[in-house]
């Protein structure tokens, strides 16, 4: 069952200039992103820096409002909800940010943090402490950690606490924005396994936002690739890796270094620089750097082609 769907989501941030602070242009952060997430599954959103993936995440949790497009959660349009409805939505849809230290108050203990969130949403009134202990155990930590301050925890532990805080309000959907980017590889797998385990047990749905394709491959069931704020390909993760269709996806996957010197392959080295988000997208977002670019690519937005099993790609080559 589908839990979340975004349709043609866009966000253009105005650039203010001059004495009167008038809008002199826009940063085209997100231009056209659509995908859907099934209940209890992980959907990967992959793109490079500036592709708009974090902005998409922030729109989904309604930290910022989209310029256009729709966010449908549980069959209901939540793009413009306000007040108590929004508060309830935010309980159901939680977010875990990249830098756990930056999303904690350095003067609060873990216990204070968990209590605060539960109080705001009126969860486990009277039995907050028991719930806090239970949450710590859920993320593989213990009661004693409740009395720690953020600086007394390791990076991996901080990420667990932030995850525990997100879980404290019984969410249904969690946006994970680069959840392991601040961790060393030797502990990264612990956090990934924890996320998987929690999903198996409690059927959480995740949107995993990352630039790291190996993590996507390990934990996402479906994946959407975005470039310049536009989705270019979406598929079951297995199909995406075995049968990538879009030239950008091909270049992206081929650029990931493989830690095995016996693997020999041809790398696609893209020419050109990363896109400038101040310029609006015309035609295919990848046309500036695409090795197969044709005239039409610069003029018209490519149509969506289904190559089978819901593997969608937007490229003129596939038409």
């Amino acid at each position: 069952m589908e839990v979340l769907r975004v349709e043609n989501l866009a966000k253009h941030f105005p650039i203010l200039g001059g004495v009167l602070q008038r809008t002199v242009g826009y940063v085209y952060a997100v231009n056209d992103v659509s995908f859907k997430v099934e209940e209890g599954e992980t959907h990967g959103l992959v793109g490079e820096s500036g592709s708009g993936k974090t902005t998409v995440g922030r729109m989904i949790v309604r930290l910022i409002d989209p310029t256009s497009g729709k966010i449908i959660f549980d069959g209901e349009d939540v793009t413009k909800i306000k007040g108590n409805k929004l508060k309830e939505y935010r309980r159901k849809v939680q977010m875990v940010f990249q830098d756990p230290y930056a999303s904690m108050n350095p003067r609060m203990t873990v216990k204070d943090m968990l209590f605060e969130v539960m109080k705001i949403h009126g969860i486990s009134r009277g039995s907050e402490y028991e719930r806090a202990v239970e949450l710590m155990e859920r993320v593989g930590m213990s009661e004693e950690h409740l009395y720690r301050y953020p600086h007394e925890l390791s990076g991996g532990q901080r990420q667990r606490v932030v995850i525990a805080r997100a879980l404290s309000v019984n969410p249904k959907f969690i946006v994970l924005d680069e959840p392991t980017a601040s961790l060393d590889v030797s502990v990264q797998a612990q956090v990934l396994d924890l996320l998987k385990e929690l999903q198996d047990k409690y059927r959480y749905s995740y949107l995993l936002i990352t630039h790291n394709l190996s993590i996507i491959k390990y934990i996402s069931r479906r994946t959407t690739v975005i470039y310049r704020g536009c989705w270019v390909e979406t598929a079951e993760t297995q199909d995406l890796f075995s049968d990538m269709q879009h030239p950008y996806t091909q270049a992206l996957i081929s650029a990931v270094p493989i830690p095995d010197p016996t693997v020999k392959r041809n790398k696609i080295i893209l020419k050109g620089e990363p896109p400038n988000p101040v310029e609006p997208v015309k035609g295919c977002p990848f046309s500036d750097r695409c090795p197969y670019v044709m005239d039409i690519c610069r003029e018209k937005v490519p149509p969506t082609t289904d190559v089978g099993k819901g593997h969608l790609v937007r490229c003129w080559l596939k038409k």
Binding site: E48, S49, S154, G156, D184, V185, S186, V187, Q188, A189, Q190, L192, D193, H211, L213, S214, I215, K217, Y218, F241, A251, L252, I253, S254, A255, V256, P257, I258, P259, D260, P261, T262, V263, K267, I269, L270, K271, E273, P274
Partner: protein
Amino acid sequence: MLLKVEDLRVEFHTYRGTVHALNGVTFDLDKGEVLGLAGETGSGKSVTALSIQRLLPPNARIVSGKIIFDGIDLVKLSEEEMEKIRGRRMAAVFQDPHTYLNPVFKIGRQFVDILKQHDPDVINSDKKEKVAREKAIQMLKEVKMPAPERVMEMYPHELSGGMKQRVLLAMAYSLKPDLIIADEATTALDVTIQAQVLEIMKELQKKSNISIILITHDLGIIAENCNRVAVMYAGRVVEFGRVTKVLVDPKHPYTQGLIRALPRTDKEVKPISIPGTVPDLVNPPSGCPFHPRCQYAMDICKEKVPEYREIDGVRVACFLYGR
């Protein structure tokens, strides 16, 4: 052999106490070789790089050990003598290029100033400015910078991260040093841009037979670009040898664990974490620094620091291979 680091020990004095950052680092680098220094946060990769350049901060001290660069022990050199080596004979490219470019001067100005300071061809010419400018443009072409003449007139903030990194690479390369140290030089870049920069680095290296020390936490980068690799843990090199051996058939339990912990794009694997966390180097563990996290730890591992053993051409510091 261009560089030989021998039993290097470095301490930092902090308010928390003495941090034992390097506890006997040993490796060597041949002429024209690309050597990888791999390890996680706090393993001592960057401190090793800074020590080689003698750029350690004032609260750090080289306690003992040797850094033999082309026959000279750099540890013994005065700051003035070191200045003649830095830039001309060894150069560095760091993770955050914007920190190393002055935001208020154009790229061209900064590049020309470096050449006027260090490049003998420029210093000995009577048209310094013109010669330096031409050479700078030439160097920007070598790193495949689009429109180098225009880039000369740009300020750092007008360039993307990948372009800034190429500018720094061009600057480092322009003096034809014997050694370039690239400290997480592509970490902040997107993978597609990272691939570009690494490709350029490889080309320059092949063309002029420069030695490179590539410092990174990404074993993939090491596998694809290095001849040999030194795997560091808690301020020591635990395994050192050819990439085709160390990454294919790792001997040290830490190297084995590190490789197993990686999710992969090229095959189905279940990554497995190494239990525990990196040791606190104010109070490093006794004996082998990895023993608290090692599944094979024996009594002796807690008591004594393992010496290097050579197995199959790979140097490994672990009691599993004899004591």
